[in-house]
Each structure stands twice: as structure tokens, then as C-alpha cells.
Amino acid sequence: MSAAASAAGDRMQRGRAFRGVFLRELHGYLITPVAWLFAVIFLLSAGAFTFYLGAFFERGQADLDPFFRFHPWLYLVLVPALAMRLWAEERRSGTLELLLTLPIRPWQAVLAKFLAAWVYIGCALALTFPMWLTVNYLGQPDNGVILASYIGSFLMAGAFLAISECLSVLTRSQVIAFIVAVAVCFLFLLAGDPLVQQPLLALGSGRVADAFADLSLLAHFQAISRGVLDLGDVAYFVLTIVFWLAANVAILDARRGG
């Protein structure tokens, strides 16, 4: 076999391993109760918040702002709950050893897990389409804004997921993974809020506070959900995801070295 053919074979084999792990993960969501709970609670509470807390009807406006406004808070609890088992469970049960001795690179395993979970969340998000049908039935909303909001919501979920997945690799305990992930996600969600800003300012560093404010997930999500799909905001989410996935790979490698 020529070197080129062998390299192509390598790539194909690696693609198979990646796909195998991705499909197993996705399959895992379909057969575990946690994942179904995630979907049901997400859909129920998204609806409940929109109509009760968001005063969907009373506002008398045909848009989905009251619907999207609560997404960050739903994700804050639900995404870490979905992601907490990603690595913690593999470490607890010992399957990590099985996974990392398969012909697959650690970054592929990290990415396969991330993508499977993201696709699953995307499906749950897509199942909120009756909301969109409702506003279109009731009035004439700006569907461009709604589409941008959906994209923003999906990107934000990805950022929460990448953070939670990365933190899950630090522990064998799903509970610890969950609590730490919620705390860190909360910090990034409200990075621009006085709640986070004031302690930073009190420490006397205005520049650090400003820099951190730029990392606010909430601010970037709100910017997108106003209907402006700004490249900077999209890049922010993509970079956040890439950063946390890279950190995940680094921690995974460090653990094998240690």
C-alpha cells in the first residue's frame, strides 16, 4: 500500500472512530431518562415562563422576546445537568480507559461528545417551534429577529455546554461537576452585571473588570436576540466554545500524564 493510500485509510478509520463515539453519545441521550427529562422540562418551562412571567399575551406584541428572555436562565440549570455526566461518569465507571485506548485522539472524543450533546439540545430547541407558529398566527412578527434569536440561543447553549463538559472532566462526581458548572456558567452569564463587576472593581482593577464584562454571555446573547447577528457576537460564542473544548483536551491529556 502506498503512503498516500495508507494516510487516506488512517483518516477514514479515524473518521469512523469519531462517528462511532458521536453516535454512541447521541444514542445515550435517547435511552437515558436524564436526557428526556431535560427535553421535557426545557419545553414545559420555556412555555410556562413565556406565558406567565413573560406576560406573552398581555404585552400585546407579536414577538418572541418573552420566550427567549428566559433561555439563559433555563440553560444555566439544564445544560450543566445534561453535561455533568459527560466525563465524570466515564471516570467513575472506568470507561474512560476504554474510550481513550480506542483508535481516537482525545480532541476527537471531546468534540464528539460535545457535538452529540449540542445536537440533542438543538433538537429540544427546535421542538419549541409551536411558539413561532403561535406568534405568526396572532400577528406579524419580524421573523428575522426570531431566527437570529434562535441562532443566538443555540450558540449560547453551546457555550454553556463547552464550559460544563470541560468542568466535568475534573471530577468523578456528577454532583460536583453540576454545581461547579452552574457556578462558572453563572459567573460568565452575569460577567457584565454589577453583581460580578463590583467585586472586581473593589479589587481595584478597572481594566480587568472591563475585560471581564466583555465576556458576558448574557450581553452577547441579548445583542443577537435584538435581531442583529453581529459577527463579533457570533465569534465570541464560537471562541468561547473553542477555548473551553481546548481546555477540556488539555486537562484530559494532563490527567493521563499525571
Binding site: 469512523r16 444514542h27 465507571s93 472506568g94 476504554l98 485506548t101 483508535p103 481516537i104 493521563r256
Partner: protein, 314 residues
């Protein structure tokens, strides 16, 4: 096939494994023995590419497991300690996952899977969730995963732990059958497994290789090697006379089964001497045996010696 050079793993000041040089050729089944904490699992994890070595390197089929991990892993079947598997999957789903990841698809893949299911007798539990299975079944499921892609190198960490005697014999037969053209490392606590399935032995203690050879070579290092043991009632006088022979070192009587063991002096051949003397004394012998040596004895001797050394590196 499997080669380690100066392989070592250090945790803080503790050398979990140090300066390990192993070589396993096709056709060889190496039994890795040692007390708990000797470094067996750590060594296997490094060869399998799960743990990064602190020193030295490990090669599988000529591929460095750190530098060319994908090629090395493709040639490798690995049964990790505790035989982990995804509990929420059924046996069939788990094996299908392993097959897909290994690129075993289509008819040949299905045939391999059927073959593994038959040889490890997994047919009755195929549709069952793995977490509902007994320990023995779980081990066999994980073993099936390791063998599925027919790898030239196998690393099996306690493959028969938790299996009943019949299943153990099956697995031994499986390992012997595969050994012909493969390099296999098996770790175990069961010394009779060594005779049943392995043709090489390496004894680890405190992270270091203490002895290596064929089972017979190691047995010959036992003080029982060349000893003669017999059972005979009313042989007190004969025992006295035996003890006085110049070729004989000591005569011991087992307090429990009353078996007498005669140890030679300086490895001399004493079988004929014992037989002749017993015949002269007209001792009625119920059983008589020339001892090959006892692996248990060598194991204890070697690990006891290692135990006297400090575990922490200076």
C-alpha cells in the same frame, strides 16, 4: 510485538513502575504477576497508551504508543482493570459500538461479532442492559470488545477475575487458541492460570521487574525443585534415616496432611536414593512424587525480598 524500554511511571516521590524492560513476541503469553500495588495495572495502562510514561517508552507492533498512538491502538486489544463498559447499553449495542469504532462494518464485521458472541457465550444476554448482568458476563462482554477486531497484541488485566471455574477454563482455552500468532500480556493473581494459559512469567514487586522466564524456569528457583515428597504411614524410622543421608538437606512433615517432603542438598538428584531407602525399610508408600517446584513458593520468596526494600525513591 510488545516491547518496553526503561518504562517508568512516577507519582510524586513514588515509583509506581521503574525501569521496566519487557519483550513479548508472537506466540508468547506473558503472565504478569505481583502483589497488589506492584505496578501491574500501571504498566499495562502505559503499554495500552492510557497513561503517559514518565520515563522510557512502550512499543506495540513497532509503533511507539505515545508518538503514534492511533497505529499502536489499532493493533491492540485491551481489557482494562475491572472490565468497564457502558452500563446503559445492551450487550449487542455495546459490541456494535466497538465494531463501528474499530471500522468493522458489513458482512465481515457481523461475522466477527457472531464469532465473539459464540465463543464467549453471550447469546443469552445479547438484548440485556449491561448494568443488569452478573460480574462474569460483564467481564466477558468487555473481553469480547478487546478481541473483536482480531488484534495482533492483547493486554488483558485480570481476564478471569469473577468467572466461575468453567468460564475460567473457557477463557484459558480462548487465550491459548489465540496465542499462536499473537503477543499477549495477562495479569493475574491466580497462579494456576499461569500453567493453564501462559508460557512466560514476569514477577513485579514494588514497581520493578524481579524475575522473568518460562514457568518451568521460575519453578526451578523454588526450594521444592528436585525435592521428593511422599505419603506413607508409619515411616518415622525411614525419615530419620533419610535425614542422615549426605545428599539430603532436610526432611519436613506437613502438619496438616502428614505429607513428607525431602529436600536435596545443593540441588543433587535424590529421587533414586529416596526410593531405594524407602524400599529397604519396607515402607508402604501411598504416594510418591518428584517435585517440579512451586510457583507460589517462588512468588512469595521474590515478593518478600522486594518487601524489605523501601518503596519510596530517594
Amino acid at each position: 510485538m510488545i516491547r518496553t524500554e526503561n518504562l517508568g511511571k512516577r507519582y510524586g516521590r513514588l515509583d509506581a513502575v521503574a525501569a521496566l524492560d519487557l519483550r513479548v513476541a508472537p506466540g508468547q503469553v506473558l503472565a504478569l504477576l505481583g502483589p497488589n500495588g506492584a505496578g501491574k495495572t500501571t504498566s499495562m495502562r502505559m503499554i495500552a497508551g492510557f497513561l503517559q510514561p514518565t520515563t522510557g517508552r512502550a512499543m506495540v507492533c513497532g509503533y511507539d504508543v505515545v508518538r503514534e498512538p492511533i497505529k499502536a491502538r489499532r493493533a491492540l486489544g485491551y481489557l482494562p482493570e475491572g472490565a468497564p463498559s457502558y452500563g446503559e447499553l445492551s450487550v449487542a449495542e455495546f459490541l456494535a459500538f466497538a465494531a463501528r469504532v474499530r471500522g468493522l462494518t458489513g458482512i465481515s464485521g457481523a461475522r466477527r461479532m457472531d464469532d465473539m458472541i459464540e465463543r464467549l457465550q453471550l447469546q443469552p444476554v445479547l438484548a440485556q442492559g449491561i448494568e443488569t448482568l452478573s460480574k462474569g458476563y460483564r467481564r466477558r462482554v468487555c473481553l469480547a470488545q478487546a478481541l473483536l477486531h482480531d488484534p495482533p497484541v492483547l493486554i488483558l488485566d485480570e481476564p478471569t477475575d469473577g468467572l466461575d471455574p468453567n468460564q475460567q477454563r473457557e477463557v484459558h482455552a480462548l487465550i491459548r487458541g489465540m496465542a499462536r500468532d499473537r503477543a499477549i500480556i495477562v495479569s493475574t493473581h491466580a497462579l494456576d492460570e499461569v500453567r493453564a494459559a501462559c508460557n512466560r512469567v514476569a514477577i513485579l514487586a514494588k514497581g520493578r521487574l524481579r524475575a522473568e522466564g518460562t514457568p518451568a524456569e521460575l519453578e526451578s528457583r523454588s526450594r521444592y525443585h528436585g525435592a521428593v515428597s511422599f505419603r506413607a504411614p508409619a515411616s518415622a524410622l525411614a525419615r530419620e534415616l533419610l535425614a542422615r543421608q549426605p545428599e539430603i538437606d532436610t526432611v519436613e512433615v506437613d502438619a496438616i496432611d502428614g505429607r513428607t517432603t525431602v529436600f536435596p542438598r545443593d540441588g543433587q538428584d535424590i529421587f533414586q536414593i529416596v526410593v531405594k531407602l524407602l524400599a529397604e525399610q519396607r515402607v508402604r508408600i501411598e504416594e510418591l512424587q518428584l517435585e517440579r517446584g512451586r510457583l507460589e513458593d517462588v512468588f512469595r520468596q521474590i515478593t518478600d525480598e522486594a518487601g524489605a526494600e523501601p518503596a519510596v525513591a530517594a
